[in-house]
């Protein structure tokens, strides 16, 4: 094993100049993508596999959620199987604050909706922020009672919330007679993004406008994560991930630090959810189910747990497969005469990806240095707050008293 100072030296000198150049090139490529997509699609062989601009929007939204999930799963090492709850919370915030759903009132603030329309219409830009804050609060409320649980129990509790929230929105059309979520029909239409008369949805280059906004949001998310990674908080997360007991002994406040990771992860989920709701102009309960949480988790695992660039890569790959890739591949297979539809088995394919990655390359496509060491040398993951501290079989370090 390399010493800490050696590792730190490698981290500091890790080819920063080259990294910046690559990042800058990728950003430029991302920004001009809508302009070159058509010429790319004309290319022989690979042309059919180039995603359309509006598919790219969806891919980026899911990547953004995966990056948010990575804060929880990768940085702090807390397995969250209910991330879809934050996605739903964000989408429904947009539904409440930027649509005609609450027709009892009429409130308009800087929005693209016509003046005097029934319902609450707040500018989508503001709604993005409000959704993020609201989801953060939801995340803290979920996190506070549950984050003291051990890893696998925490996973189950988050899964529970991930199941409760969608059922709540599905059944929420008469809570004490009040229609909060419009039940199975969902809330639609949701206002477009835009400024004043410049409404994205009615412009001819609607997809491009949403695309650039999505790129901006993803860049913002990535920027936050880069800054967080080496911050005081980020280092505290790593400490907790590697050895909770030691971290606590060194004075890392466990609950506060964990709750922060949960809250920040939730924030990005909420913003992404609200943005996506505006893009497809609706929040529908059928979109929010357990498989989405696993889909996002699969992105994180494929790319590399805790590895920001890896998660972006994993997110784009799986997002692409989900929105277009599998269908394209399926049509190619069927042209070849085989009757096989991969979209039907998409979650089985994600399952195979998860298992294969965990067995053969658990650190992901672009491993994070620190995480690779953890995988090779193991971590001390029997935490202080063991749920079985009352004395059952998992409590191995204790004598049989």
């Amino acid at each position: 094993m390399k010493s800490v100072s050696e590792l730190a030296g490698e981290v500091r000198s890790g080819g920063t100049g080259r990294t910046y150049a690559i990042v800058a090139a990728l950003v430029v490529l991302a920004v001009i993508y809508p302009e070159i997509v058509e010429s790319l699609q004309d290319l022989p062989l690979i042309g059919d596999f180039i995603p359309r601009t509006d598919s790219m929007v969806v891919m980026i939204v899911f990547t953004m959620m995966a990056v948010g999930l990575n804060v929880v799963v990768g940085y702090a090492g807390l397995l969250d199987l209910g991330y879809v709850a934050f996605y739903a919370a964000g989408a429904y915030t947009a539904g409440w604050l930027a649509s005609g759903h609450f027709e009892q009132v009429s409130f308009e603030f800087l929005s693209t909706a016509p003046a005097g329309a029934p319902g609450i219409h707040i500018s989508m830009w503001l709604v993005l922020i409000i959704a993020g804050v609201f989801t953060t609060i939801v995340g803290i409320l979920i996190g506070l009672p549950t984050l003291r649980l051990r890893g696998d129990y925490l996973a189950i509790v988050t899964l529970g919330f991930g199941e409760i929230v969608p059922q709540f929105v599905r059944n929420g059309d008469s809570i004490g007679g009040f229609d909060l979520t419009n039940g199975t029909f969902g809330i639609s239409p949701i206002d477009s993004m835009g400024v004043g008369d410049f409404v994205f949805r009615t412009e001819s280059n609607r997809a491009e406008l949403y695309y650039w906004t999505a790129v901006g949001l993803l860049l913002f998310t990535v920027f936050c994560c880069v800054r967080l990674q080496n911050s005081r908080l980020g280092r505290a997360w790593i400490a907790i991930r590697e050895d909770e007991t030691a971290a606590a002994a060194m004075g890392v406040p466990l609950m506060r630090t964990k709750t922060w990771s949960y809250a920040i992860g939730a924030f990005f989920g909420g913003v992404a959810g609200a943005f996506y709701a505006s893009f497809k102009s609706g929040a529908f309960p059928a979109d929010f189910f357990f498989n989405i949480s696993v889909f996002l988790l699969c992105m994180v695992i494929l790319g590399g747990i805790g590895s920001l660039w890896g998660v972006i890569l994993g997110g784009m790959i799986l997002g692409y497969l989900n929105i277009e890739g599998l269908a394209t591949i399926g049509s190619k297979i069927q042209e070849g005469g085989l009757d096989f539809d991969p979209t039907k088995y998409q979650f089985g394919i994600y399952g195979i990806i998860i298992v294969t990655m965990m067995l053969f390359r658990p650190t992901g496509l672009i491993p994070e240095r620190r995480h690779r060491i953890e995988m090779e040398e193991g971590v001390h993951d029997t935490p202080m707050y063991d749920v079985t501290h009352e004395g059952t079989l998992t409590d191995r370090d204790r004598g049989n008293d």
Binding site: G77, L79, L81, P145, T146, L149, G151, D152, Y153, A155, I156, V157, L159, G160, F161, E163, I164, Q167, F168, R170, N171, F290, N291, V294, L297, C298, I301, K344, Y345, F347, G348, I349, Y350, G351, I352, I353, I354, V355, M358, L359, P362, E374, M375, G378, V379, D381, V387, T388, E390, G391, T392, L393, T394, R396
Partner: protein, 344 residues
Amino acid sequence: MASALARLRASSVTDKIGLSLVGLLIFWLAVNFVKDPTEFVNVGLIGLTNGSIYGVVALGYTLVYGILQLINFAHGDVFALSGLFASTIIVSVLGLDTDSSVPVIVGGMLLTLVVVMSLFSIVNATIERVAYKPLRHAPRLAPLITAIGVSFIVQNVALAFYGVNFRSVPNFIPTSDVIDIGGITYTWKKLTAILIVVPLLLLLTWFVRTTRQGKAMRAVAQDREASAMMGIDVNRTISVTFMIAGALAGAAGIVYLLQFNMRYDTGFELGLIAFTAAVLGGIGNLTGAVLGAIIIGLIQAFNEGLTWLAPGSDWTRTIVFGILILILVFRPEGLLGERTPEGA
């Protein structure tokens, strides 16, 4: 016992909240009982039957958790696949139908049980060998994540073979009443579930308590390293545990199939219910798993069947997960969690 009493005296605020929630639940049940006692008992019997089926699935979770500290997500999907496979045997291979004679039905059911249980014990042990064994020394979350992946794979295998339609078997077990006392009824069909489940539980208890292999399982669950040093073949023991869990999943699949219809994703929801039951009873504890399952079965039946202030089936999932979260927050060791593991 003394420590339990001391803990009761020193009950914290969370304990009081938890107790008052239980109190509210009991009050609600009491009001419903007074309003319509017959209906209450009937609904309770349904809950008991369903609970016993959940119990068999929950045992699979609790056995594996006891020995590996792994939440085997794939267990629910193995259960669903086994039920679907049983429907093939019953309908296509054996051709049991409503006009089959009683010996044929009994023999056919026994044959199905044997075939499905042995096949799925092998399937489950294979899953362990391929997917979980290489990760035995990895960080704790690695096998859990893998289990989620396996769960999706098994689910899609079921989807590939059986499509998206619900499967069921003909009503060859009579739906006539076994007992009918003043409106309280219990059908033969439900009794079949009990007739299969109870002997299985007795067999399992006997196996874990008295056989060499059962003792080895208990030892490995308590301390894997020490067991290995004492000459217990840990790998073999873990394989046997997975085989038993798989056989239980197979049996549960058949019993479930006789009562309800099922399709490829039945196992996901039922698996979560069963897991909740295992946690409620105290995960790792065999008696606890069955007790928890019966409580969950009753709660579900009361929620869906009672008339006074019952939220109804739309909210079942929310209630079950709400219970799960409340237990993990208020009493993470479960109802019987303080006892020695593996029911001994």
